[in-house]
Symmetry: C2
Subunit: 333 residues, 2 copies
DNA sequence: TCACTGTGTGCAAACGCTTCCACAATAAGA
DNA sequence: TCTTATTGTGGAAGCGTTTGCACACAGTGA
């Protein structure tokens, strides 16, 4: 790996000149002839500045950390993709850290993560402890929460989960459904609560009575969907449609429903939050609400870079743009 | 962020002592009392060494790059997960770079990737150009190819795709199938060729004639599965079973088959390569062959770190351990 | 008493870069 | 002719580490 000095020697100038030329320093002028020689030398040697040395000097290294709980979850995959794109667009790299079960000493973990090797961190991690957030706030360390709000966090970017939920439920209502169940997510997740809130809003706005027993709380897993739908279907007056808080939940529910002889959509309509490849491949194709997850990732990176540079701007962003994706899992009543 | 000097000042010693204590340097001895003071000071200040400065000095920075073509693909997600785990286990971080369509100037891209900010790079990228590999070889830069072999690459780790394919096909043969189709992947992909080879081996080993027209080459996409299965089903003597080179292909095939009134598994048995959540959520549940993808990621990291340290070891690894996962998409004939 | 061997600590250079400052040379104004 | 500004270049410090080396101070054996 050639260094600045190597280039300088070849060009017959001092390394400081090389640095200035390569960084296009406005504050100093260099003779055109010299500039040419420098550029040629750099080209000839295949010179690339060393990011470490640069970062050490400039106290900004050109990479960001993205902390997520589970890489295999397609929801996070989309957030990652958006973040990666935006990071690259602005000349940054993404350091990916997955917590997958790494709970104890998560704080240590984060601290070690920093070590000065990133300019900031994005937490797409619903499971992060409040203590971690407090710590980040106290340390004035650039960070952004994504897909999760928190009282203690001053910065986050989330999707409009409530509007998304309303969109889904209204779609069912428009098709004549009155008895609509909700397979909710874990009550510990901010997104789950918001979706549940949206569900209720839509129900009541349509003049339908809200029934607590039509809402089954669980986790964001297929099994939770299976269990939930069985409970709903065994009610004395079962729902004709359900809104699932999540694709996995919906997939589990569809599977379990089918096994008990319930046909979808003839006997039961299903709408789910999130729209990944899976929704299309299930049969029947699942009608979903698509949230701008990639946008979440992108926006988080933008906000983080702003914060890291000390620029002003919005610190709590709710990204609008939920969209209904029609497939075959809903039939009118 | 406190520095070594801050700690030294607080402990009343020179920074070199602090460095030695903290790195547990065997070559110098330090008084027990001094060591204690240093550790206390470091603790009190919440000192963490700066990875950049350290990396600059040591020429090894403690992170690796993982280059993949598509984050949303669950196959890569597993590789990423394995790599991430192994990286963390050995105290390294993973820099994730996705190429998603970034084809032009990929070489530039890689070079800039390095910039000294990683100790090596793992290419889980089937699309990487040969020129890039040549460059890496020429530059003696630590790198490992994963899930892809190449003539020009001296180091790779792949799964035993051939054995996996044979496992799948034999499973069908054991259940009485004789006319077995193969929805192959793109002929440009090493994995696709190997799977096709395995398919043929299994067929011929069972004394069944190999028919070129039972093999449909395409891409690793659902649409390719749809198109392929239509062609197979429209043969004058259509297969009773197919082996799909990939989950997406299988999902597309199942969907298209169903739409033409073909029942699965009654009329057509399906086995696919790869086993992700999707396989379980399809209906019927898809019988698959699981390849040790996480292991691929882990092994790649191990190999890379070995290479980066200049240690000897195997440079071409075929990771055994394909496993058949039985579900409901196959019926005996 | 003298050399010798450990033991414990500090000095200073180096990793590759950026940037403030000094300074030489030329050009311009008084 | 003498300042004064402008342009172009080099010197050198410093970012936070690690580590070879020097050195001071014991303790040991002759």
């Amino acid at each position: 790996m050639p260094t600045l000095r190597d280039v300088a020697k070849l060009a017959g100038v001092h390394q400081s000149i090389v640095s200035r030329v390569l960084n296009d320093d406005k504050k100093t002028s260099v003779k055109e002839e010299t500039r040419r020689r420098v550029l040629e030398a750099a080209e000839a040697l295949g010179y690339w500045p060393n990011a470490l040395a640069r970062g050490l000097k400039l106290k900004s290294v050109g990479s960001l950390a993205l902390v997520i709980p589970d890489i295999s979850n397609p929801v996070y995959a989309e957030i990652i993709r958006g973040a990666e794109q935006e990071a690259r667009r602005s000349g940054h790299f993404l350091l990916l850290a997955s917590t997958e079960g790494t709970d104890p000493g998560e704080l240590e973990f984060l601290q070690s993560l920093l070590e000065g090797r990133v300019d900031g961190v994005i937490l797409a991690n619903a499971l992060v402890e409040d203590a971690v957030i407090d710590d980040l706030e106290a340390g004035r360390y650039p960070y952004v929460l994504v897909n999760r709000r928190s009282q203690r966090a001053s910065r986050y970017v989330v999707a409009d989960d409530a509007a998304g939920a309303m969109l889904a439920v209204n779609y069912l209502i428009d098709r004549g459904h009155r008895r609509i169940g909700h397979l909710a997510g874990p009550p510990t997740a901010d997104t789950a609560l918001t979706r549940k809130y949206g569900y209720r809003q839509a129900i009541e706005a349509a003049g339908i009575a809200f029934h607590e027993d039509l809402v089954i709380e669980g986790s964001y897993s297929t099994d939770s969907g299976r269990v939930g739908i069985r409970r709903l279907l065994s009610l004395k007056d079962p729902p004709t449609a359900v809104f699932a808080a999540n694709l996995r939940v919906a997939a589990g529910a569809m599977d379990a429903a089918r096994r008990t002889g319930t046909r979808i959509p003839e006997d039961l309509s299903v709408v789910a939050m999130h729209d990944t490849e899976l929704a299309e491949l299930l049969s029947p194709g699942l009608t979903t609400v698509r949230l701008p997850l990639e946008g979440l990732g992108r926006e988080a990176v933008r906000m983080l870079l702003r914060v890291a540079r000390g620029e002003p701007g919005p610190e709590q962003v709710v990204l609008l743009g939920a969209e209904l994706v029609e497939r075959e899992s809903v039939s009118p009543i």
